[in-house]
Symmetry: C2
Subunit: 342 residues, 2 copies
């Protein structure tokens, strides 16, 4: 049903002038009354509040921002909305923002630097008070181009410049934690199956894992880290490869939950029990995959929401003049489920 009516049922938003008129005072007084200034009598204050209520008045943040020089908005520039990393970060950021009644502009650059430039420009035009840039991989990225008039915080993927503020997960530490967990339940012949070799995430986690193994006087089962792709099928074939070669193992640390799901499949098909014969760990703690696995999957959680919240807080601090340059690492946690129980 198409209605020709130009502005159907939509009325101009009431302004402070309307409120003042209705309350029978000047706009100056109305402003003071609404903003809790103490240079106004209780009775007038009540009158003004009544009028505002009646008109459903909500102050124009644009006018306010124009005057104040700050808009109470931040820009959130993400590279992959469909990815599962941006979202929790985004939630954490929105969370932290909400506490201070500031709103978030969302833009998705889709990994395209042209589009990124475009969005930065749009955000700057909207006079955001700050910018959070969320990456889709943990690899470091080039900083935003040009001297920006507002502070920027890089989340998940750090900026290549040390002059910038970055907040990231400690993937090396996470690799170490994973191995230490497996050691703590008595496993010693531990294989590590990870994702694409070219990813910093794969490299870092492997590095941490190797460090922990070495410190325990061990080598990885199969003698080397297996890099492949971030898929279930790679998890299946990599695990099958290990078993076919007769590699002795009592645990597998996987670089992602998807890989772990694949490994679990292979183990079950070969008649090996998890965690009885082989313990299995994933990475990402992706609920849908980890909780629905058989058995449920122990996994490393990067606490991305926490990361997002921290990124936002550092941004607010920077907006406030308290800049803490450099890369800040967030520790990961391990969510223990059945696949490493006992």
């Amino acid at each position: 049903m198409v209605q020709g009516d130009p502005t159907p049922g939509r009325r101009r938003q009431p302004t402070l002038t309307d409120v003042a008129k209705l309350a029978g005072v000047s706009i100056a007084t109305a402003s003071k009354a609404l903003n809790g200034r103490d240079q106004v009598s209780p009775t007038t204050r009540a009158k003004v509040h009544d009028a505002a209520e009646q008109l459903a008045f909500s102050p124009n943040a644009l006018a306010r921002g124009l005057l104040a020089g700050r808009t109470g908005t931040v820009g959130l520039l993400t590279s992959d909305l469909e990815g599962r990393f941006s979202i929790p970060v985004l939630m954490g950021a929105e969370d932290a923002a909400g506490e201070g009644s500031i709103s978030v502009f969302l833009c998705d650059a889709r990994g395209d630097s042209i589009r990124e430039q475009f969005h930065v420009k749009a955000l700057l035009g909207r006079r955001v008070d700050g910018l959070i840039v969320v990456g889709s991989r943990t690899d470091s990225r080039p900083p935003l181009r040009g001297k920006l008039a507002v502070p920027v915080v890089y989340a998940y993927a750090p900026s290549q410049s040390d002059d910038d503020i970055s907040v990231v997960s400690d993937n090396v530490g996470a690799g170490r934690q994973a191995i230490e967990h497996l050691l703590s339940i008595g496993r010693t012949r531990i294989a590590h199956i990870s994702g694409e070799h070219g990813y910093a995430a794969a490299q870092d986690r492997a590095k941490g894992a190797m460090l922990a193994l070495r410190e325990a006087g061990l080598r990885p089962a199969g003698d080397r880290v297996l890099f492949g792709s971030w898929t279930e099928s790679w998890g299946r074939s990599a695990a099958a490869g290990l078993l076919d070669k007769g590699v002795e193992l009592d645990a597998i640390f996987c670089g992602s939950d998807q890989i772990a799901r694949g490994a679990l499949d292979t183990l079950r098909e070969r008649g090996l029990s998890v965690p009885g014969d082989v313990a299995v760990m994933g990475f990402d703690n992706w609920q849908v995959l980890a909780s629905n696995a058989r058995p449920q999957l122990t996994s490393v959680d990067m606490r991305l929401e926490h990361l997002g919240r921290l990124a936002a807080q550092r941004l607010f601090a920077a907006m406030d003049g308290r800049v803490e340059k450099g890369v800040h690492q967030i520790g990961c946690s391990i969510v223990v489920r059945e696949s490493t129980a006992g």
Copy 2:
């Protein structure tokens, strides 16, 4: 490293006045030149553009919006960011918005109506030109409270009021399409395993499936639709139940990809081949699950990104005075993979 410096390296954004001054003209002329008004000589225009470039001038959208009465922003109110439904809708909306240089304010109400009210108020204060409300389930929802000054479009979850604009997936049609696909590859003993009974999504899909079966003169294998939960484990146990009861079947239509993954697991364990003995279909076309399944899973795609784009377009139309009230249904598509091949 903490720096006490109050506003480190941040300089006031250049204004039109700065540009005009640098170009040696009045701000009126500068404005005309930058906005492509044709009442300005080519030479002056060039001078102004040079100055603007040099200062990296970007017009203050707040001031502009204050004057124009429109801000070029829309609010996106979602209920579950972590859910996999909001995101594609959000992407589509952002997509459609980007084409017209409109920016999106994102807010997550987390299913809490108090929080929702709060965000609506904040968005209205920021003078968004319109609002998109994205649900987390397909069930209809109560409309936003109060007479709003801007148009609203409900996406994925329709408003309960027919006076509102809603854009949703056609789940009944999707159920029908799924069955028709299975019939087209020669299957006739088709079971339907779905999710929680209380979800409109489950009801609608089942309804469509039953309609298509009835029209083909068939009844569902097992004689009734199996409702349970949206999990892999329900898919496993429901499929096992059917086989244990000796129900004859050559196809299973599942209410979600998760359920389908579970069903696939059971079938494989029972030594049944897919699609040879039993064809399997999922719902949602969730890449991670569908593409990594063994065999890869045929699934119904709700085209959520398309839905989001359409919702945004209807919003823009409404902002323009062209309101099309009522619930608009988007047809779903079927992505055929190995699990129903042949």
